[in-house]
Structures are given as structure tokens and as C-alpha cells.
Amino acid sequence: MNIDDNTIKDKATNLSADEALAKSAARLLNDNAQHLSAVTLKKLDTARNQAVSQLAARQSAGVNQSGSVLQWFGHGSYFDQHKLVTISMLMGVVLITFFVAQQFNKALSPVVSYEENSDAFLLASELPPEAFADKGFDTWVVSKRD
């Protein structure tokens, strides 16, 4: 039992000693990494500046994209670059409007006839309501019209 305990203890001690060694080695490497040649530092500087300017360009482009509706119009805008698509879209909108207007007109006529048969129409009419219920009255109106 004691032997096992000692073995585990030794292993743990070795591991922590190795880890300490590794940490010291990493620190030395880190210190050494701060002393690079002037050429390498210059190249790293250039690379960093490229990355930063790329990000700046992307972010400013993002702001313009969400800027205003006016960017859709004018020279070089989306509509200017896609004329065929724009014309097709406009023609489509006109056709749809025409179709909807026609449908609306058709739907309007039954409403008018419905209004003629409504209670308000009967009550406001010069004739009494019984006149409309009388079948003989219809015949009389037709013969009168002829």
C-alpha cells in the first residue's frame, strides 16, 4: 500500500516538475519571440496593416449598404446596373395593378345590386314595401315600361 502511494506521489512530483519545466521553456520562447529581425517585424507590420485596412473597408461598406434607400437609384446604383430586371419588375407591377383594379370593379357591382335589395333601400323608396312583394306589381311595371 505504501509502495503504491509512494509511486503515485513520485509520478505526481515528476509531472509537476515536468510541467514547471515546460512553463519555464514556454516563457523563454516567448521572451525570445520578442527579438525578431527588423525585416520580419516590418513584414508582420505590413501584414497587420493589410488585415486592419481590410476590416475597415468591409465595415465602411457595411455602413453604406444599410445607409439609405437613395443608394438604389442614381448612376451606378442597383437599378442602373440591372435595367432589364427593373423594367420587367415595373411592367409586372403595372399589370398586377390593372388586374386587381378590374377584379375590384367586378366585385363592386354585386354590392350595388345587394344595396338595391337592402332594407334601407326599401324603406327610403317612394313606393311602399308591399309593392315590391306583390307579383302583380312587377308585371304592371314591365307592362308600363313597354
Partner: protein, 199 residues
């Protein structure tokens, strides 16, 4: 969202370490510079809108993936180079080499003997690090150099926490054995770290 200044500050803090880590892995300074540049551009392009706190982990992940891409390309290139080597000319042209360009900017506030000792130790460590298998080196760098925890390291390496612990343990053990072979123990390294004015 990270601002350009925040990104710049972050890259300033990691670029030197990233370069050295990549150089240990690919053993070619020019390729290491290209890889670090690629990683920086990818970070700005794809993750520039992420919060600043996420940048260290994302950058390490991109860096490791870019290194893997490099090794894949190298593998294919080496295959063709081997096949076509009989037609090639292997003379290296060193006429354009300028020693001033590669001279290290050393801190001369220290004693020359201590500087020499430290640079020799660093060379031994670098050599030991280069000898490690790629995954062990990756785990060692992320855990001990970048000081990331096991979960973060696992995420970057794309493996389980257990695998990270195994890689780290093996890397540390192999490194310790290699350094002890060269007569370096923990005490010696600690003294060097403590005596280093820049640490």
C-alpha cells in the same frame, strides 16, 4: 464587433508569437510569414464582426488550419519535386543574402555571457520543440505558451479534452527528457527566466 483599432492591437500582441510558433512548425521563416499573413487576413475577412474576446481563439484556430493547409500543399509539392528532381537544378543561390537583414535585434542591456547562455538554451528548446510530433507541439504551444485552458485547446485542435491532456503530457515529458539530456533542468531554466530582464 471588433473595431479596426482593436483588431490592430490584438494582432500586435500575438503576431510575434504566432510567427515563431509557425516557424517551429514549418521550419521556414518565409513560409511562416506567409501563413501568419494569411491567418491575419482570414481573421479580418471572416471574423472581423466577432467580439474582441473571441479573437485569440479564432486566430489560433485559423493559424493551425492554415498550417495544415500548408503541409498538405507541401506534401503534394514534395511528391512532384521528388518525381521531377532528376530534371531540376539544386544549386542554391545565396548571392542575394544580406546578413544585415536577418540580424536579430537583441537587448544589449544584459551581460553578453548571460545573453549567450540564454540564446543557447532557447536554441536547445527550439530544437526539442521541432522534434515533437505536430499534434504534441500544437498542444504544448496552445496550453503553455498561449496559456489556453484544456477546453479551448481542444476546440482549436478539434479533439476531445482527454486527447489534449494526453498530447500535452507526452509533449511535456518528451521535452523534459530532451532538455535533461542537454543538461537543462527546471532549476536552470527557472533561473534563466528570472534573470531575463524582459520577462
Amino acid at each position: 464587433m471588433a473595431s479596426p483599432k482593436e483588431l490592430s492591437d490584438f494582432l500586435k500582441t500575438v503576431e510575434r508569437r504566432a510567427f515563431k510558433q509557425t516557424a517551429y512548425a514549418v521550419r521556414d521563416d518565409h513560409a511562416a510569414l506567409d501563413i501568419v499573413q494569411d491567418a491575419m487576413l482570414k481573421l479580418a475577412e471572416k471574423y472581423g464582426n466577432n467580439p474582441v474576446e473571441e479573437l485569440p481563439m479564432l486566430f489560433q484556430r485559423i493559424l493551425q488550419n492554415t498550417m495544415r493547409d500548408y503541409w498538405r500543399r507541401q506534401k503534394v509539392r514534395n511528391l512532384w519535386t521528388t518525381l521531377l528532381s532528376s530534371f531540376g537544378n539544386n544549386h542554391e543561390d545565396n548571392e542575394d543574402h544580406d546578413p544585415l537583414e536577418t540580424i536579430d535585434v537583441e537587448d544589449d542591456s544584459d551581460e553578453p555571457s548571460a545573453q549567450l547562455e540564454r540564446s543557447q538554451t532557447v536554441k536547445i528548446i527550439e530544437s526539442a520543440l521541432e522534434k515533437l510530433p505536430a499534434r504534441q507541439r500544437e498542444a504544448f504551444i496552445l496550453r503553455y505558451w498561449e496559456e489556453m485552458d484544456v477546453a479551448e485547446t481542444a476546440k482549436i485542435m478539434g479533439c476531445s479534452d482527454g486527447s489534449v491532456k494526453t498530447h500535452c503530457s507526452r509533449a511535456v515529458h518528451a521535452l523534459a527528457v530532451e532538455l535533461k539530456k542537454q543538461g537543462l533542468d527546471n532549476l536552470g531554466l527557472s533561473n534563466l527566466v528570472l534573470n531575463n530582464p524582459s520577462s
